[in-house]
Symmetry: C4
Subunit: 221 residues, 4 copies
């Protein structure tokens, strides 16, 4: 089997990991929408009653929103990662399966946090999910870097790997700080988590974003 043929196979391999990932991400992102139940009650007799019943859904809607954003952050990250990964093997498969297992738990840990926001234990469970995701992302990068599965090489590779690892470590440092704040107040933790996640989704001028932009610039140059 010649190199060209192998590359095609390797390409397909990556494609299947990405295809399975997109499915698991989509299911995970939309899973909590099942929790948003249409309020049906005999007591709803006026516009005001209905508005009240609807506003009672806000915690569920906010939880859905936070869970969707969190899944979206990791999807964006994995998506960028796979632009640089050109080969895979069975170990990459399994590293990514465990990654997806943790992704599929995000709706649960987010809902758990949302239902028990007054307890540090709920913060700890949510943070553990994010921490394990961070660890497995670093394992993945370490592995594909070591086995030369990347499509960049030399100084560019060093730059890309360093930038992405730094990005993950900064995010994890922010999550860990958020988790630690639960020693003062779990509500403070939640606020920090929400700000960090929204920042990744929205703020285009933050420090962390700039790192991402650096990478983009590298790839487009």
């Amino acid at each position: 089997m010649n190199i060209k043929h192998y590359n095609q196979i390797a390409g397909q391999r990556i494609q299947r990991v990405e295809s399975l990932s997109d499915n698991v991400f989509a299911v995970s992102a939309t899973l909590l929408v099942l929790n948003i139940k249409v309020p049906v009650s005999e007591a709803i007799r006026s516009e005001r009653d209905l508005a009240t019943a609807f506003s009672a859904l806000s915690p569920t809607l906010l939880t859905y929103f936070l869970s969707f954003i969190t899944v979206g952050i990791f999807w964006t990250g994995q998506s960028v990662a796979f632009h640089y990964i050109k080969k895979s093997d069975r170990n990459v498969y399994w590293i990514n399966l465990f990654f997806l297992l943790l992704i599929s738990l995000i709706p649960f840990t987010t809902a758990f946090l949302s239902a028990h926001i007054e307890f540090r234990f709920a913060i700890a469970v949510y943070w553990l999910n994010l921490l394990l995701l961070g660890i497995i992302i670093l394992i993945n990068w370490h592995y594909v870097d070591k086995h030369s599965f990347l499509c960049v090489s030399g100084a560019e590779k060093t730059k890309v790997v360093k930038a992405i690892k730094r990005r993950v470590l900064i995010a994890q440092a922010l999550y860990a700080s958020g988790a630690l704040l639960s020693l003062i107040s779990p509500y403070l933790s939640l606020v920090v988590f929400c700000i960090v996640q929204l920042n990744y989704a929205l703020a285009p001028f933050s420090k962390v974003r700039q790192i991402g932009d650096e990478i983009s610039e590298q790839t487009s140059s």
Copy 2:
């Protein structure tokens, strides 16, 4: 990294957004089918009883139908849009993630409307969903146009962007008119919404359709 390589990467990027989108669209389109429960009752003892029990499902079936059509309209729109978009970046990712978040809420807002059709508040919630979708589609077009992520250029680009934006604005004007009619009667609003959505799905000779055809003609010429 040379231009050709970057284009491949950009292509994959778009592919992943489309792949995730198709998954979220499929889940959103089929979600309400879970609401259509097989009637099982001791009271069903004749063909007539069963027919009665089945006809009691019609509101649920109609809601499913309306939700599926609505999701289908936005899927068709996004699909056409992505024929013109050849590059993406992290911001395109997030614009589309928020778009998908709103898509995944369509089954809920449709079921909410269906359950509380006698109230203007339900019309307002459903319309807000459609309005936000329209706004985010315009943001997406504005962004990809500004950053030259389109595969067309010059006069053709101007024509395509103008035609698509006009299409979105006409649809939003129709939705807004429908929503305004709820001041007279919410039922009137529903009728207008249903006619507008069915028109997009079925009527090939409408004014709005002609705009779509203009675009098709441009692309095939």
Copy 3:
């Protein structure tokens, strides 16, 4: 926009329809698995109790099986169809969206049939689903043939379109016969439906299969 470029776009279009279809097919095929609940009861105290509780699941398992096979038949059919379709337009999109809407109803109509097998009305509902699917498949073929969206032409096109239409009509004739037998007994209908569906999935030597083989031979020659 030159022809080559347009073909790429058209290719993507088909790809998105197929991608959305695979998602809706997968959701539809696996939906009824949610009905297979693990029996949990205080009354289960021996191997025999558990075996009895498990055997009580057989109707649910058989319904799942029949629904999966039925979805599989239409997936196989659509898959073969899309080998011949090289272009699409907005109408092909919508024809296929309505096709998928009917596919997503198969789990419901199959479960409805399974729950009320003693009534002709349940046979009628199930058959109506199959009939509408047949009609929309013929509309799709008629449309793509008329608009020259096929990748075959001349005598070969005539042969392929004729063979596929015949295949659909034969299947629909068998389904209609099955439905008519409910005038004698609904159970007889069910037996015929099951035999027909299993025949499509399993029997490689049936008449209908030979038509499929003819097409395969044409394409491989």
Copy 4:
């Protein structure tokens, strides 16, 4: 229709089987996550109460974990298999549809085993699922080998087919041994099943893994 064109069609065919598979795999892998319900109770008043309520979820979490890993093992296997399969026909479609039907039952049989671990009958049901999967994988390989649907030929083909078949047979021998141990104790069976599945997911130095590595070496050389 010339050979090149046919290959493209055949490629698409394989692509659709893989696309449907990835969807069914993703749904099957994540299905049991619906069972992990956030504990909500008036009785949860302290960190300790919440930790207790959370730890009560461990059997559900472990079942989810085992189910996910099992689905992952078969996904990895199918993924490797499809690197060697370059053509397909209607029979390959149906062999794979039955394969997917069995995959979609894994969450149920795993949950059934988990709920009734003290009974041999539950072990038998779980093992039957794995056995049927093994049989259908062998049928698939036998079929694609016999019809020359593989992208390798000659001595390399013999080597690949032999190595993969041996891999399946070794796995099935381990599963059968695990099932037989239920004659001594069902708990012993479960332990063996868990060790075997974790070995496939984690242990890179096991005998079975070496076979996989042999194949990888062949393909990369």
